[in-house]
């Protein structure tokens, strides 16, 4: 019945006559909360993912600031006084001066102090452990709970059915389940942090993850959290693959799909095919930590390098789960905001699949220091293959910009920032893929800077850019472009100040994951920390711009940027069932030179005169 009625309403009353948008509350606040908590609407689930991801981004960001603040001084910046286990009182030395946790155990300074004061090394919560926990928290949250689900789960969920002209994803209830699984996994991880944290690093390398000081329960909870998050990732990926196969609008062939869909399709394939391997790995790791089964423990005959292989067999492809959706977003933003057909559609589409394929062959390049010479050489050679499809994309985006009618909107600024940062990130990866230079740079701040340029400069920057691109569609409100641009510039400056300095630190020999360092590095660390505060300021500006938009933003038109993909045919925000009619695809997603964008007046969008020989 709903189809018939809505089509009538669409004809008679225009686009806003029928029903309500998906955001329209169903009743009182309780009804609304229950409605959202039990919804199978992909748009609501996408928004819920967005909120969850942004919250985790906040947590991970706080941890990052703690880490950066600690690194301002070469030894210790933030101090916590230790507790004497015998008396339960704050611990003091022979002269009555307070003894800090860091001085008790695990650090030469603490050892010396203990010798002088003659106090026993009893606290397990001493040393640099809390620093280790802060960066583990930062890394694990940002990778597993922010970057991996950021674009796929939030923007992907919201946009894939809209872009395909479908009413929903293939398995709506499974989609809701994925969200709950994601939240459950996150709760496990957060619990592990609340009860003391994990000091293994986000990779959970054995033997760190099987023998470090952190309580057994913490590590197990955290690893279990990652294991559960993996399920969420698999289910979402599976859902998207089937959606792309089965729910394209009539008239939409594979090569009429928007490039965001191609990127998400490739991403989902990786999620489905790589995540199970980390599933079994983390499961074995849990067995290892709980029952000491020995598969990764050399003392019992196991092999810690096997863990590394398993881990990277998943985690390298997952690097592309992080970056491919970003490629998809950029492939949408650039043509729309330069009103020009994407250069080399098929090349970009196949490059996504190419990246997905190559991603399964290069895990060994994370292990140059722990694998044999031949293996390292082969993996090094294979690693350079990744550069090919990636460079194809970058050149195609630049070629798309060339002679385009570029609108310097916030999403476009973000796309340009992405091109700049990602190119630095990509090119600084080459010395890491090269064996000889990698052995110098391995596990140094150079690596830290490199992957922040790729993962944050690539994915997070694009996620924020994508949010600005689709914000009017998601919430039906425009935002203040001036302040959004200020935010973008602040983020750009803060990012470079934070991470560019780390390239210098790394090449000069500063290893990653150390809380203390020699005095010569201090100036770089101070600059980097100042940069991280600028980054914080930038993100706060964005937060206020978005909040302001929700409260007082101008109402968004259905197609504010003049996009041609199907989501712009829906209202802003879209109706409950997305479209009034099932859309029929009659033009390509980027045919800006031959098609007036939906909801635009041909007067406002004069098409270029068609050359005589065309058609």
């Amino acid at each position: 019945m709903s189809t018939l009625d809505s089509s009538n309403a669409g004809h008679l009353g225009g686009h806003h006559a029928h029903g309500g948008s998906y955001l329209t509350p169903k009743g009182g606040w309780l009804t609304t909360v229950i409605d959202w908590a039990t919804t199978v609407d992909h748009k609501k689930i996408g928004v819920m993912y967005m909120v969850a991801v942004l919250f985790m981004f906040f947590l991970g960001g706080v941890a990052a600031l703690v880490v950066r603040t600690e690194l301002v001084t070469p030894v210790r910046t933030v101090e916590v006084q230790a507790t004497d286990p015998a008396t339960g009182q704050p611990m003091v030395d022979a002269e009555g001066k307070p003894v800090m946790k860091s001085e008790i155990r695990g650090q030469w300074l603490g050892e010396m102090k203990a010798k002088i004061t003659g106090q026993e090394l009893t606290s397990i919560d001493g040393g640099n452990n809390w620093y280790n926990r802060a960066f583990t928290l930062h890394g694990a949250i940002m990778v597993f709970m922010v970057i991996i689900p950021s674009i796929p789960a939030s923007l992907g969920n919201f946009l894939i059915p809209l872009m395909l002209g479908a009413k929903d994803v293939a398995f709506p209830r499974l989609n809701l389940l994925s969200w709950y699984v994601y939240v459950t996994g996150s709760i496990f991880a957060v619990c592990s942090i609340v009860i003391g944290g994990v000091d293994t690093g986000w990779t959970f390398y054995t033997p760190y993850s099987t023998t470090t000081d952190a309580e057994y329960a913490n590590v197990v909870l955290m690893v279990l959290g990652a294991f559960i998050l993996g399920f969420s990732s698999i289910l979402t990926g599976l859902n998207f693959v089937v959606t792309v196969h089965k729910l394209r609008a009539p008239g939409m062939g594979w090569f009429d799909m928007p490039l965001f869909i191609w990127a998400m399709y490739s991403t989902s394939l990786i999620q489905v095919l790589a995540t199970p391997v980390i599933g079994i790995t983390l499961l074995l790791l849990i067995f290892e930590r709980m029952f000491r089964i020995g598969i990764f423990d050399p003392a019992l005959g196991g092999d810690p390098v096997l863990y590394q292989h398993f881990f990277w067999f998943y985690s390298h492809p997952v690097v592309y789960v992080m970056i491919l959706p970003a490629f998809g977003v950029i492939s949408e933003i650039i043509p729309v905001h330069s009103h020009k057909k994407i250069f080399g559609y098929r090349a970009v589409a196949f490059a996504s699949l190419g990246v997905a394929l190559v991603s399964f062959l290069v895990w060994g390049h994370h292990m140059f220091a722990s694998s044999g010479e031949l293996a390292a050489t082969v993996f090094s050679a294979l690693t350079f293959l990744v550069a090919i499809p990636t460079a194809v994309k970058v050149f195609n985006w630049i070629a798309t910009l060339y002679k385009g009618s570029i609108a310097l909107t916030t999403p476009m600024w973000y796309a340009l920032i992405f091109l700049f940062l990602f190119s630095i990130g990509g090119l600084t990866g080459l010395p890491l893929g090269t064996l000889a230079t990698d052995l110098h740079l391995h596990d140094s701040y150079y690596v830290v800077a490199h992957f922040h340029y790729v993962m944050m400069g690539g994915t997070i920057i694009t996620f924020v850019g994508g949010l600005h691109h689709w914000w009017p569609k998601m919430f039906g409100r425009m935002y203040n472009q001036f302040w959004a641009n200020i935010g973008a510039f602040t983020v750009f400056i803060g990012f470079n100040v934070t991470f560019f300095t780390q390239f210098f630190l790394g090449t000069q020999g500063m290893p990653r994951r150390y809380a203390s360092y020699i005095d010569d590095y201090q100036i770089y660390h101070v600059i980097s920390t100042v940069g991280s505060y600028i980054l914080l300021l930038g993100f706060l500006i964005h937060l206020f711009v978005f909040l302001h938009s929700l409260v007082a933003g101008r109402k968004a038109p259905a197609n504010p940027w003049g996009g041609l993909t199907l989501e712009w045919e829906a209202a802003s925000p879209p109706d409950e069932h997305n479209f009034h009619h099932e859309p029929i695809v009659k033009h390509g997603p980027y045919d800006f030179d031959t098609t007036v964008p939906p909801h635009w007046d041909p007067k406002d969008y004069p098409l270029p005169a068609r050359p005589k020989h065309a058609h």
Partner: protein, 259 residues
């Protein structure tokens, strides 16, 4: 929405499967079925990859410690492996046949075959738990265990009115650091047991999940949920069950037969 069906005059005495209407976002029930099956095949791919990790660990550790693995494998009785393989193969047949019966709307046979499949799964777990896990881990034998007579001279305890018999020194073949079997001939044998219990344990978990799905199908089938035009759930449960079977067909030779 099912408004169409009530208007068409077909009453509520019509079986559930005839009244099934595809989700609102599908153009037809056929497309929904195709999508569900495609999704399920993808899910099976993830399962295969999950076990691939275990097979990898097996291959690598076997390569490192061939003697420990040969020696460890010799504690397993290939006849029990065979019995369990046969049980699972039979259950795969009954599962497949059950799907066919629902396609032909032969509800009674379909349900019976589901039940047989379930019982086969139970049998598999029984053999695994009673004749393999229990004696090896704890030294307690089930009194009908054909291996028991060989060890009766070392009997040192009984329980449950003679149903369980404890053999001194037999148990302790546990994974990793829990290994306490006194007569092992290879120092790396605990590792073999780690691989054995991880692989068969995770497989057994899959058997349990498969049995739960079968039980759910049976409950739904009693309400008439499956028939010639709608049998997605049974079909996919069948796919899952075949995968569980298939994994075992790989585990069986790797663990029991290779020497």
């Amino acid at each position: 929405m099912s408004t169409l069906d009530t208007r068409s005059g077909i009453g509520n005495d019509v079986p559930l499967w005839k009244r099934y209407v595809a989700g609102h976002h599908w153009r037809s029930a056929d497309e929904e079925f195709d999508a569900c099956t495609l999704g399920f095949w993808l899910f099976l791919a993830t399962e295969v990859l999950l076990f691939a990790g275990l097979f990898c660990a097996y291959a690598m550790l076997r390569y490192k410690y061939p003697e420990a693995f040969v020696n460890g494998s010799s504690y397993l009785d290939w006849r029990w492996g065979c019995v369990n393989t046969a049980v699972l193969l039979l259950s795969s047949y009954t599962m497949a046949a059950s799907i066919r019966m629902f396609q032909l709307d032969r509800q009674g046979t379909g349900k019976l075959l589901l039940a047989i499949t379930f019982v086969c799964g139970l049998g598999f777990l029984f053999v695994k738990g009673t004749f393999e896990y229990m004696p090896k881990l704890s030294g307690w034998f089930f009194f009908l265990d054909p291996a028991l007579p060989h060890y009766l001279e070392f009997k040192n305890a009984e329980a449950l009115g003679g149903m369980l018999v404890h053999i001194d020194g037999y148990g302790g073949k546990a994974p990793g650091q829990f290994f306490s079997y006194a007569f092992s001939s290879d120092p790396w044998e605990p590792l073999w047991w780690s691989v054995y219990y991880s692989a068969t344990g995770i497989h057994a978990l899959h058997v349990v999940i498969g049995m739960s799905l079968i039980a759910w199908c049976w409950v739904r089938a009693r309400k008439g949920a499956y028939g010639p035009t709608h049998y997605t759930m049974v079909e996919n449960t069948g796919l899952y069950w075949h995968l569980v079977d298939l994994i075992w067909i790989f585990l069986f030779p790797l663990l029991y037969l290779i020497h």
